[in-house]
């Protein structure tokens, strides 16, 4: 059994003292930022990237991954207790979770979220371990034309799932692609769009973009909103355990959420947010049992399903990254950055050239999920206390960590000036109603896309037909087209808008 051998190798790596420590650190940090509204995994991972320079690559990736899936656990706590999504992927948990808390059933709600997440995390990891090798095989058949088409599919996927205007999301991707091209062209050595600034010939650092747009931009946006009263149900968390009846309702919801989340996580553009959202929609469509609380009034299934789905999605979104080297969402785009910092080229060769990293990372996710369930259920009290930290103490700290993080990437103040510019740009995006996540994806994929397009066209002597004559490439493009057509269909379009409106409510 290959899988068993590989996992043994992985657990061997993950069960060293240092790696366990970094896994724990990542999980604690992930829960922390998950609990705190206003700071998400994108900004946190961006902040910590420079700090992981000194670590061995395996430990660094284990910790960063822990932050991402840890945040999915933490986010539900805030959603249930404060009626605010601690994390964007917990937006739908708010609806029923908070209602349960108001009825004095915060404990079972938290337990449903935690247990569902744990189950989904384990299944997601297992899927990752089982499906990564065959997909890697497939990836080796990919030529430049296939890669180019795959990236098109990935970007279209990301757009389709973004909330708000489709056109704006596409424009943001193109803007990201263009910004990715700033700097020295690898083929000709020409410094493009660098305005004779020496620092810009290396390209715009993506840590600066991520921190500027996601860190500063969001802080400014948060501060400009009037402060609303936060009602925290701290005293009412008693009796964590769900009743037998709860378990009976939860179980099918968790199973549905997990399978849906795992499937959507693999899709380009997918990940935790979409998974949670789709899972809730499906639960709402199923028939209510006699005597069950309706959705929106504190139904436990409305907590269990999306929370399992976002964890499964978070886990399986590592599949495209680890097998194809293509990031399916903004957090995975940052993981690409983390791997590059450590001189690991993400892609199918990672599994063969760095098996201890590949399997170590996967094994660490199991351990991490186990740590998280302990961190989030028995130790829930600790996190609840944190919720009482007011934002006025929080945001100067976030500004500080962004500034230090940016500076230490290159030990150069130039990056601090850049992040100031991007902070303003990020706030402008917010004002203009442009979602920034597609921009970051485009930014990471820009140079890769240009390179693959160049190679594909060089091989075909400038003939664009190559993208449709090669079967895999044609299939990927057809899928991208299909996605676009589906979203543009009037019926789906109105549903989609309705769906995202609900999410904002």
């Amino acid at each position: 059994m290959d899988l068993v051998n590989n996992l043994t190798l992985g657990f061997g790596v993950a069960f060293t003292f240092t790696n366990l420590l970094y896994c724990l650190a990542g999980c604690i940090l992930g829960t922390l930022i998950g609990v705190l509204p206003g700071i998400g995994p994108v900004a946190t991972i961006a902040m910590l990237l420079p700090a992981t320079y000194a670590l061995p690559p395996v430990s660094a990736l284990i910790m960063l991954a822990g932050i991402y899936y840890g945040a999915q656990y933490g986010g539900s706590t805030t959603a249930i207790l404060v009626n605010l999504p601690g994390e964007s992927s917990s937006v739908v948990t708010v609806i029923d979770g908070y209602q349960m808390a108001r009825k004095g059933r915060a404990g079972p709600a938290l337990a449903a979220a935690g247990l569902g997440s744990f189950f989904a995390g384990c299944v997601g990891t297992l899927i990752l371990a089982a499906f990564a090798p065959p997909l890697t095989e497939l990836a080796f058949k990919f030529g430049p034309a296939e890669y180019f088409s795959l990236m098109i599919l990935g970007l279209i996927g990301a757009v389709v799932l973004a909330s708000g205007s489709l056109l704006k999301a596409i424009a943001m991707i193109v803007l990201g692609l263009l910004m990715g091209l700033v700097g020295t062209d690898v083929n000709s050595g020409v410094a493009r769009f660098s305005f004779d600034i020496p620092e810009l010939t290396d390209g715009i650092g993506f840590v600066t973009i991520a921190m500027g747009v996601f860190g500063y931009g969001e802080i400014i946006a948060n501060l400009s909103r009037p402060e609303h009263e936060r009602e925290v149900f701290t005293a009412k968390v008693s009796g964590l355990f769900p009743t037998k009846e709860d378990f009976k309702r939860m179980l099918p919801a968790v199973l549905r959420g997990t399978s849906l989340g795992a499937a959507l996580g693999i899709l380009p553009g997918g990940g935790a947010l979409l998974a949670a959202f789709a899972a809730y929609t499906i639960e709402k469509k199923t028939k209510l049992h006699p005597g069950e609380v309706p959705f929106g009034k504190g139904n436990i299934r409305g907590v269990a399903a999306p929370e399992s789905a976002n964890n499964a999605g978070a886990q399986t979104s590592f599949i495209p990254l680890l097998t194809l080297g293509i990031p399916p969402n903004a957090v995975m785009a940052l993981m690409v950055g983390a791997m590059t910092i450590h001189n690991i080229q993400p892609g199918p060769q990672v599994m063969t050239s760095n098996p201890e990293l590949f399997w170590g990372l996967i094994a660490s996710m199991w351990i991490g999920n186990a740590m998280l369930i302990i961190l989030n259920l028995p130790l829930i009290g600790m996190w609840i206390k944190l919720l009482s930290v007011p934002y006025k103490y929080l945001f100067p700290a976030i500004v500080l960590f962004c500034a230090i993080g940016v500076y230490s990437t290159n030990n150069n103040t130039f990056d601090i000036w850049m992040v100031a510019i991007f902070g303003f740009i990020g706030y402008s995006f917010f004002k203009l109603g442009c979602e920034p996540a597609p921009l970051l994806l485009g930014f990471i994929l820009g140079p890769m896309m240009e390179e693959n397009l160049r190679r594909a066209l060089l091989l075909s002597r400038g003939d664009w037909i190559v993208f449709v004559t090669r079967p895999i490439s044609a299939g990927l493009l057809a899928a991208a087209l299909l996605l676009l057509v589906i979203v543009l269909l009037p019926a789906v379009k109105s549903k989609r808008e309705e769906a995202f409106h609900e999410e904002e409510a």
Binding site: A51, A171, V174, L181, R192, E227, W417, K431, L432, G462
Partner: protein, 162 residues
């Protein structure tokens, strides 16, 4: 003509202008042909694409009815000023500005400046609690970044350490 969605119209303007700028900039490099792409080929393509999408967004901002006209609303200049200002002050104090002869003051002083300026962006400002926060963050950063992670950051002003 009346603008029906301010957000759409002005983001469309932004995309168009930036797209045209990139496309125009790309023409100053060698564009080449499909089989032999020059450094200008891909950015030119993308620039034109973005300008076209921008125009479409502008158009939809003028034609598609919205309930409230989707106004952009007031800009939070105060918050922008203090947050960005805090960041810039941090950079100047940490690294100095050798070109105009400002010496580097090091991380600790920069942290105090950043926390104080950033806090001014909040709805209330109490110097005492802000100073306590700054001290906590300064000590915490020293332990985390200098002592534990061993980042190469200047901690104290140049004239003290020499």
């Amino acid at each position: 003509m009346k603008i029906k969605s301010q957000k759409d119209f002005f983001s469309g303007v932004m995309f168009t202008v930036v797209g045209v700028a990139f496309a125009w900039g790309a023409t100053t490099y060698n564009v080449g042909s499909g089989a032999r792409m020059g450094p200008g080929y891909f950015p030119l393509m993308l620039g034109i694409l973005m300008a076209v999408i921008g125009l479409a967004i502008m158009f939809s901002g003028l034609t598609v009815e919205t309930e409230d006209g989707e106004p952009i609303g007031k800009w939070a200049w105060k918050q922008v000023f203090y947050i960005i200002g805090a960041n810039l002050a941090f950079g100047v104090l940490l690294g100095g500005l050798p070109s105009v002869g400002v010496p580097a003051m090091g991380m600790i002083i920069a942290i105090y400046a950043l926390v104080i300026i950033a806090s001014l962006a909040g709805s209330e400002f109490r110097l005492r609690s802000v100073l306590i926060l700054a001290t906590v963050l300064a000590v915490g950063s020293y332990i985390a970044f200098i002592w534990a992670l061993k980042l190469q950051i200047q901690v104290w002003p140049t004239f003290i350490t020499g």
